[in-house]
Amino acid sequence: MNNSPVWPHGARCAVVVTIDVDGDLPFLALDPGHRDRLKSRSVGQYGPDHGAARLLRVLERLGVRASWFVPGAVAQQYPELVRSVVQGGHEVASHGMHHLDFDGLDLDAQVAEMLDGARALQEVSGVQPRGFRTPSGEWKPGFPEVMAGAGFQWSSSLPGDDRPFPLGGTGVLELPFRYELEDLQYLGFNLDPPFPPGQSRIQSLEAVRDNWDIEFAAARRFGTVLTLRLNAEIMGTPGRARLLEDFLSSTINSGEAWLATSGELAAHWAGQPAEEDHPYRRFLDLSARES
């Protein structure tokens, strides 16, 4: 099934804006000893303190609703921010409790990280999150089944496709992200410990914009989903927020894009027949045999 997907209102592609509001949690998750390193923590804290509000203003001006991934600990620390996201008509989704790296956790710890985070987010937002994104790293076998049992309808955790696909027979849909459409990959930077590890230069905004424009033209041609994966502390500076505003304006003005939240994309896709030969299904079969 490589025919172009069909989108609502005759649109030629879907555009989904997703924003992670991680604060300083990823930095603390690297090493609890980082607690006293206030400068490095402040890099991440810029997200909930400043960047998120600016991105909310951009989205409000455009009338675009986004999906916001908020770890439980950030929700507890910034309840007003979470409430203004919900009041703005946006969707909130679970992103763990402390933004722990899944590669270092066994299945039980992964499940606890997801459920604790979802509970904390629900207490603050008053909404049960239906979507989940792994903080970083990969889930263990059996995790999607637990997601389904806990009432999650979709995940946005894997980088492996340009359209949704089912996570085996769990009923949970994966809404993949792509590295080319992330801000972290192009623009994320920390001095110590270094990110990127090779300390490469921050990409120019011109280059980011041109790649995204090409991706949008390609999404229209191939009928795919363009999922932006942004971070409040990275994309929320004045100049980058303006780039986002200009880019999203161009997608709206094209008249050819369906702008949706992750939840709306999942609801739209839910009735599609599954691709029997999809790589995720192949992964389940092969990994059971090979490992």
Partner: protein
């Protein structure tokens, strides 16, 4: 490479399998749109996993060539191990594709000082593994034809990216697409001025994502419009060289 870690990483696996599953049909459509044929260096494990796709590649006039069974690094492998991989790959090609394939490109990294001789002994016509040259040449001691390919034409160098495991190891940024394609175009036209051969090292999972596939289509159109480049399969170049300069 299909190591144990892959089977614990669904995201990493699906990113790779995007190549045969999603990108290849798109690339085949683009090539057909320009009336072009290409060479697909394909590990025989991939042929086993996606046999219908590989048969479609042949039916559309393209070439299927060898790239190990599971993308093994030949350097450091005993000769008999290498020979076993080559034989197994050719058996799988014969069985699933109806022909054994005559070309080979060394999987990631390096090959072994004896690999070229083994390929010649096993009946292969050419390799496209080394970097040293702007035209085909023969390996002196065994007669295998070499079609050199340069790393500057490897799409990994500009576009491949993944975290945990990290590629590139320093997580350098994805390059701006357009300047990369423009650089490839300029390099090819300069080679055309000197009457040379250029081979790309592209990977469907990298060059066949939507944005890059769009530029690939434009790029191929510009190449053909230049009227200065003959685009064909590696096999056709190797056979032509073999005929014109017999051993």
């Amino acid at each position: 490479m299909l190591t144990g870690a892959l089977w614990r990483k669904p995201g990493y696996f699906t990113l790779g399998a995007y190549g045969p599953h999603r990108a290849m049909p798109r690339i085949l459509d683009i090539l057909a749109g320009h009336g072009l044929t290409a060479t697909f260096f394909t590990p025989s494990w991939v042929v086993e996993q996606w046999p219908e796709l590989c048969r479609r590649v042949l039916e559309q006039g393209h070439e299927m060539a060898h790239h190990g069974h599971r993308h093994e690094v030949f350097f450091g492998k005993a000769e008999e191990k290498q020979r076993a991989i080559i034989r197994r790959s050719r058996d799988i090609f014969r069985q699933l594709l109806g022909a054994p394939g005559v070309g080979f490109r060394a999987p990631s990294g390096d090959w072994h000082p004896r690999t070229a001789r083994l390929l010649a002994e096993e009946g292969l016509l050419y390799s496209s593994s080394l970097r040293n040259g702007d035209l085909p040449f023969r390996h002196a001691d065994n007669g295998l034809i070499e079609l050199p390919a340069k790393s500057l034409f490897d799409d990994y160098t500009a576009f491949a990216y993944h975290r945990a495991p990290n590629f590139p190891s320093g997580l350098d940024r994805v390059a701006p697409y357009r300047p990369v394609f423009n650089g490839w175009f300029d390099e090819i036209l300069a080679a055309a001025d000197e009457g040379l051969m250029v081979s790309t090292i592209w990977h469907p999972k990298v060059i066949g994502t939507p944005g890059r596939a769009l530029l690939l289509d434009e790029f191929l159109g510009r190449l053909l419009d230049s009227g200065r480049v003959h685009v064909t399969t590696s096999r056709a170049v190797a056979e032509d060289w073999n005929e014109r300069l017999p051993r």
